[in-house]
C-alpha cells in the first residue's frame, strides 16, 4: 500500500500528453505528547498535462496514512484504530420543566446541591 512510487503514463493525442504520477510522501516522525512517536504519510497524485509547450500540473491528496502511532496498550491500539469520527452538531438549548428523575453535572458542593434542580426534584417527591 505504501509503495514508494508507482507511475502510469497515458498519451491522449499527439498534441496533448498527460502523465500521472502517484507518490507517497512521509512526514518526519514527531513526538505526540509524551506517549511516543507519530508519523503521517500522504499519497499524492500528480497529473501533468502538456499541450504543445504549455504545461499544467495538478496535485491531489488521495490518501492519508498513519503508519507509526503510539501502541502502549491493547486499548490504545483499539482507540487508534477507530474510523474517522463524526459528530452531530446542535445549538445549546435550555429545558426548564423537563420530565426527569436525576440531574447530572452541577451538584458537586453542598451549596450547589441545595440550590440545584436535583434537590428540588427530591423535595417535590416528598409531597
Amino acid at each position: 500500500m505504501l509503495a514508494a512510487m508507482t507511475a502510469a503514463a497515458t498519451i491522449a493525442t499527439t498534441a496533448k500528453r498527460t502523465v500521472t504520477v502517484t507518490k507517497t510522501v512521509s512526514g518526519r516522525q514527531a513526538v505526540a505528547d509524551r506517549w511516543g512517536y507519530v508519523e503521517v504519510t500522504l499519497v499524492v497524485k500528480k497529473t501533468t498535462t502538456t499541450v504543445g509547450t504549455h504545461k499544467k500540473v495538478t496535485r491531489k491528496i488521495t490518501g492519508v496514512n498513519v503508519p507509526v502511532y503510539p501502541n502502549h496498550t491493547d486499548r490504545s491500539i483499539f482507540i487508534n484504530e477507530q474510523a474517522i469520527p463524526w459528530l452531530k452538531q446542535e445549538v445549546l438549548a435550555a429545558q426548564f420543566n423537563p420530565n426527569i428523575e436525576l440531574v447530572g453535572g452541577a451538584t458537586a458542593t453542598s451549596y450547589a446541591f441545595q440550590q440545584s434542580l436535583q434537590a428540588a426534584l427530591l423535595a417535590a417527591r416528598k409531597v
Binding site: 445549546l92 447530572g104 434542580l117
Partner: protein, 236 residues
C-alpha cells in the same frame, strides 16, 4: 425511597424505586473516604503521597485504583493524569466507589454522587445547563448506564490541562455515558482538559462510550450513539 448524605466531600443521593436503601451503601462510602481521602492524614492515599506507604504494601482496593488510573492516563494521552495532581486518585475513586455501591442496591436504583450518576434500570437523567441553574441542556435516557459530567461551572475551574498547566478554553462541559462510571468520569475530565478544539473529536473515538460536548460558542457536539431521551409528547 431515597437517601442523601454528605460523604467523600459531596452530596450523594441513593435511590431505590421499590424498596429500602441499604445502610451498607453509605457505610461503604465512609470506608472509601477513610481509605482514599486526601483530607485525612491517616488515609492510605495520604500515607502513599507522603512516601510512608509503598503502593505494593497498600490494600487491594488502593492498588486496583492506582493501576486503573495508570491505564486511564495512557488511554487519554496523559490528559487524565494522577501524577500531575500529586498522586491524588480522587478523579477516579468516586466513580469506582459508586460502581461497587450500585452492586449492593436491589432492583431498579440509581446513585448520584456530586453530579455523576450510575443507574440500574431505566432513569431519565437531565444534564445541567451550563448557565441556567434551573434548566437542563439535554435529557438522557440512562438504562444500566453511567453518566459523568466535567465542567467549568461545578467547583470553579478545577480541571487543568496537565500538559500546559492552564485551564482549558472554548469549552463549557463534557458529559460521557457508558458502562463504567470511573472510566466515564476520567474520559469526561480528560476531554474537558483538552479544550474546545479537541474534545469533540476525541470523544468520538471512545469504544463503548458516548459523549456530549458543550462549547463556549453555544455549539453542542454529540457522538452518534449518545442516548438522548426521545422527545416527549406535547402536554394535553
Amino acid at each position: 425511597m431515597h437517601r442523601v448524605e454528605h460523604v467523600m466531600g459531596m452530596p450523594i443521593v441513593v435511590e431505590v424505586r421499590d424498596g429500602e436503601v441499604p445502610g451498607a451503601v453509605f457505610d461503604w462510602f465512609r470506608h472509601v473516604d477513610e481509605t482514599f481521602s486526601t483530607y485525612r492524614d491517616d488515609s492510605e492515599v495520604s500515607r502513599i503521597r507522603r512516601g510512608e506507604l509503598a503502593l505494593a504494601d497498600a490494600s487491594d482496593d488502593v492498588r486496583t485504583v492506582y493501576a486503573r488510573c495508570a491505564e486511564l492516563c495512557e488511554e487519554t494521552s496523559g490528559f487524565f493524569d494522577v501524577d500531575a495532581v500529586g498522586g491524588d486518585p480522587s478523579g477516579y475513586v468516586k466513580g469506582w466507589a459508586v460502581e461497587r455501591a450500585a452492586e449492593m442496591l436491589p432492583g431498579e436504583s440509581a446513585i448520584n454522587a456530586g453530579g455523576d450518576i450510575r443507574t440500574k434500570g431505566t432513569w431519565r437523567v437531565g444534564v445541567q445547563h451550563p448557565f441556567e441553574r434551573q434548566a437542563v441542556a439535554k435529557v438522557v435516557e440512562a438504562t444500566d448506564l453511567a453518566v459523568a459530567t466535567s465542567g467549568a461551572y461545578e467547583r470553579g475551574e478545577h480541571v487543568l490541562d496537565p500538559h500546559s498547566g492552564s485551564a482549558p478554553t472554548g469549552i463549557l462541559s463534557v458529559t460521557v455515558t457508558g458502562p463504567d462510571l470511573g472510566t466515564a468520569d476520567a474520559y469526561a475530565t480528560a476531554a474537558f482538559a483538552m479544550g474546545g478544539h479537541r474534545a469533540g473529536n476525541w470523544t468520538a473515538r471512545l469504544p463503548g462510550y458516548e459523549a456530549m460536548t458543550i462549547l463556549a460558542d453555544g455549539r453542542v457536539l454529540l457522538t452518534p450513539g449518545f442516548p438522548q431521551a426521545p422527545p416527549e409528547p406535547p402536554a394535553a
